[in-house]
Subunit: 154 residues, 2 copies
């Protein structure tokens, strides 16, 4: 079976933007009957080299995760005040689902292929062990996509 422009159609994450990650994590934890996860702060620009709409992005975010399937997690993101793919969505659309994510290989080529298909790059950054790119597929697919490349992943 062909697997399209990403090489996969398996969604591995549903990402939410929220105003208060601790409060949202507590609400989900109570709902799921699990312990509330701790949140972590994303790395600073010096480590991520983050770019949003082609400019350096100094926003950091507080992130917490829940496993909601064998190969699916839910990410809660509380963005800092600086412009970012999360902050702008939160300010414009409010709290809720922000993106769906896919594990991919070959970030550079995938991003170019998506851009060629009319799905522009919004934000990209490095993190320890990998990198991500948010792509604006709201025109055709009605959602932001996150591409996640993890080094050494199968």
């Amino acid at each position: 079976m062909q697997r399209g422009i990403l090489g996969t159609k398996a969604v591995i994450q549903i990402g939410f933007v929220v105003h208060d990650v601790e409060k949202a994590a507590k609400a989900f934890a109570e709902f799921f009957g699990v312990e509330a996860p701790s949140w972590s702060l994303s790395d600073p620009y010096e480590k991520t080299g983050c770019e949003y709409k082609g400019k350096p992005c100094f926003a950091r975010s507080k992130n917490a995760f829940f496993q909601i399937g064998d190969q699916l997690d839910l990410e809660l993101i509380e963005p800092g005040p600086e412009p970012s793919v999360w902050r702008d969505w939160l300010d414009e659309r409010g709290e809720g689902v922000h993106h769906i994510a896919f594990f991919i290989h070959g970030m550079g080529e995938r991003v170019l292929a998506l851009e060629g298909a009319g799905i522009p790059l919004l934000q990209k950054a490095e993190f320890t062990g990998g990198r991500y790119a948010y792509m604006d597929a709201t025109a055709g697919l009605k959602v932001i996509l996150e591409l996640l490349e993890i080094e050494g992943r199968g």
Copy 2:
């Protein structure tokens, strides 16, 4: 492990509302490198007994599905013009992710338990082989939940 008020934390569906199910299905099919699925029309009120906000709901919808994981699908919903949980969201928020769904057992009790937890019922209906309920968890969990009960399911 305790599994909270639903008896599960496995998300089995991400639901989108769209203006044109055929167009959106074609876009996703091209993106995933698969054949576009055909859409189906939901049953009429006489079969579903659908209620939205406590009143009969005569809206029907065109629905198409993609498998996006071993136990996860993506649902595209094009609602008819009558008031419904889908139409009101589409008119107020536009196209995009509308709900996440869970398989549950014991619909009546689950709905009561969620209502008791401050998550009100929005819409419910019967379909061949089961029933659904949409619950408004936007206050705490920032998303609409769909409970799906399939008769004879494990």
